[in-house]
Amino acid sequence: MNVSADRAAKQGSVGVQVSAQQRGLFLRLLVLGGVVMLVSQIVISWIALQGFEEDLKPELNRKAIAVGRALTSELSYAINDLGIPPSELVGVDEYFRHILDANTDIQFLALVDGSSRVMYERNLPLDLRGRLKENAYDPRAPAQAYWTGNIGKYLDSGFPIYSNGNLNATLHVGVSGDNVRRQLATVLYEIIAVIIVSMVITLEFLMMFMSLRILDPTAHIQKVLEAGSKGEFTQRVFLRARNEIGLMVSNLNRLMYHLEQRYLDFQFELRELRDAQIDPLVSQKIAMLKTQANRRYWFSDRLGLVEKTPSLIRVPFFLFIFSEELSRSFFPLFVGSFIPIEPVFSYEVMISLPITLFMAAIFVATLFAGKLTQRLGSSRLFLAGICCAFVGYCGTYFSDSYTELILWRCLNGIGYGLIFNACETWVALYAKETNRAYSASAFVGAIFAGYVCGPSMGGMFADYVGQQMTFLISAGLSVVSGLVAYQLLRDLDAESNVKPIPSPESKATGLEPWKILFGNARFIGTVLTAVPTRATLSAFLFFLVPLYLNHLGHSNTEIGQMMMLYGVLIVVGTPVIARLADHTRRYVTFTVAGASLSGLGLFAGMASGFLGGESRAVLIAIIAVGTGHCLVMSPLYAIMQQIIYGYRNQIEIPVAISIYRFVDRIGLVIGPLLAALLVQQMSYPGAMATIGGLVILAVLLTLVAVNTDRRRVPGGVTA
């Protein structure tokens, strides 16, 4: 190894070491944020539920008293007015059963004689049979209409039935706090969803803060220090921050300036000494000293900006996806309320149309987005997309007909397409050659973090404030996303300066890029996996899941929580898979395994009998699809980037991206329509299984395409 290579290797190792330390710090901060959030939420929820239970128990007892009074009056009539002895009453069991069936919050009913022997009972727990005397009538106490006491975990109210002033029988009505606890416990799922959403938001913002304020500046400072340690004092850091790094940077720049001034003085002194020499030999020696010094250290006063990273786009993109995903769990049901009395197509197709056209709008926007990105830059395109999305959400809120709804959703789709392309271009521009899959995971991760937060919160909002109002919340969130994007990416000129996009004259235009890309069997293989993956997403998750779960009687909140699982899996799994894929470079293996898993998972609906019911089967399918997509997403994106990067001299990067996205979105567009047509013909599980079968078929075709590419270019595929 030569000296310079050795130096580079040393530099690299130091860089990795410091970067690992910073990442460790980031992880610790993340754990801190997560733990504080989790513990505080758990404590608060626990305290809340305790208080609620205390407050609800007396109310539950009042119900028991109401029931007890009514029953006592009936029994008194039979015993006193009709003269039937309590032990000879007929049909008491049946009567008690009827009362308990109609009042599920009452746990048991029992009629006991004067010595607390049970004569008739319904649902009385075995262990309480001998214990009812613990709450028996106290003859020393003044006569009362009823009394209440605790027996085990039950609150038991006793109602005496007197005959000629003597206690003849006592009716016991028991209630349990378990019932209240069970009812309150349903809020726990919602609270868990809120905790997860809070954690994801914390993660996203902390990641942005760390990246913007600590990781990126320190990485840049490190470069300057590395260069300086080799005598290369050519850069200073441009960073304005009123924190520890800002102070350090200003001291560093001052030191560099001072050193440079000393260097200029040094040069001046040597020049003076050399010029004043009469003896050419001495003059030559001084000149040599100067040259030797210049070899050891050199200066310039360039101001280096902190480099932009792919992760910078993550938070605004996440917020936008969050806003879009709010309506995901109830959108098909929302569309249902707009369908005219005499629809043009079948009910299922009418529901799928706004979703399909929304996807088609994304598809069309992708067509123009490539060129628009070149003209406007990704930051301006992002803001343009946000404007479209905002107007679309507001329009959806105000729309009162099916046609209006479609139009506004299409505008939303255009916004989505523009934003998606802007982000993708941003990542492609600022990703490093060595961490493409990881950079992609920053982008893919933001989408799926949105998938975690959106459906669950959207479902809750829909249940609490109404489905239409949720679109207004989406509009507000999109504005926040725009503001964050403006703050983070507003340095538009710098964006184009960092990596200038080469002039289009040297690149293929028109249909030429299409021919080039589709001439590559690996690209075809990538598309063959991407299209069904997208189709699964839009057909299964966006269309079938809300309708099927609603059909099974689940609320918006529950549907949202189940859909959230998909996002949770992706958020947790994507970075791990991305690193693993980058490490092993087996991108194709990951995509094939992931697509197969998602395809097979869709057969879960057919086996609902073995899986413990239809709802559980849907849940298992969501988990399988989520895990499968987790394996597919980042590696697929990395393969695409590899291919596009390989053709960078022939095709513009944004153009190549938009071609890939254009083809890839076909899956999103056809998904809901395909699902609607399938549901028309068969049951929900049948439709799911058919889509699963199509995915498996696509996987087989991908394998054929990849093998063709391998045979054509020996060793060309690193799968």
Binding site: V18, L25, R28, L29, L32, G33, V36, M37, S40, Q41, I44, I47, A48, G51, F52, D55, L56, E59, L60, A66, V67, A102, Q183, L184, T186, V187, V194, I195, S198, F205, L206, F209, R213, I214, Q222, L225, S229, G231, N243, E244, N251, L252, R254, L255, Y257, H258, L259, R262, Y263, F266, L270, L273, R274, Q277, V282, K285, I286, L289, A293, Y297
Partner: protein, 262 residues
Amino acid sequence: MFFGFAFRVALLLVPILILGIVTTSALSVHKFGQTFSQLLTSRFEFVTSEIRNDVENQMDLGLVLENLEITEVLETYALDDRQILSIEVFDEFGVVLYSSDSSSLGDLVPEEWISTWRLNSNNASWSTQDHDAVVVGTSIRNNLGQHVGSLVLRYSREFLDQRIEEQARRLFAVNSIAAGISIIIAFLGAMFLLNRTCRELKLMGQIMDNISTAKQKDVTVLKGADIKHPIYRRFVAAVLATYKDMDTTVDRARELDEGKGT
């Protein structure tokens, strides 16, 4: 104004923390209200069903709805429970036939009650909201199975709202304390975690300042300094070496100039 990293990180956590706590609290209070309301409604549904049984028993004996003797029953139930505002029986046209409050006899019930009753006449009970009360109703059938009217019980929302408000106030107090403690923990935790990094950055800045202001220009500047990152040490060493090298080079040039050097 100077804000350190720890402060900024903690500041970042605060709004998210508060947002999470507020959302959780709102959901909890909403659930409490829902459960409490369900319990109340269930109790009053039982009461109405008991009265309806009385009414239908009398009708089974051949009496028509207009000629029943139930006013006393209605008054007894209403007096027994402070939360009950009134219990009324109205016919199919919405005219109040019997009431625990005699002043409303002959009045017409709100249109909404009639439509809700008609819509839910086959259900065991129905309920709707008045501005100050919750209305629980049950349909009355004659012995031919025809819906001839409805029995309604109005109970005060004030009681329900009051309980919800009390719980909300209690939760607000508890959550404020919890949020305060969480914020303090977040601040202290962030300070603890970032302390080392911040200290090292500060120290490094100080050393650089010392060198540039010529307070210290030799390797002693690094002695005892708790700097773990090798790159910081190497940079400072390189800067000091450069200063020294320039001084040495100038000295040698001077020596050459003075004819001392070779």
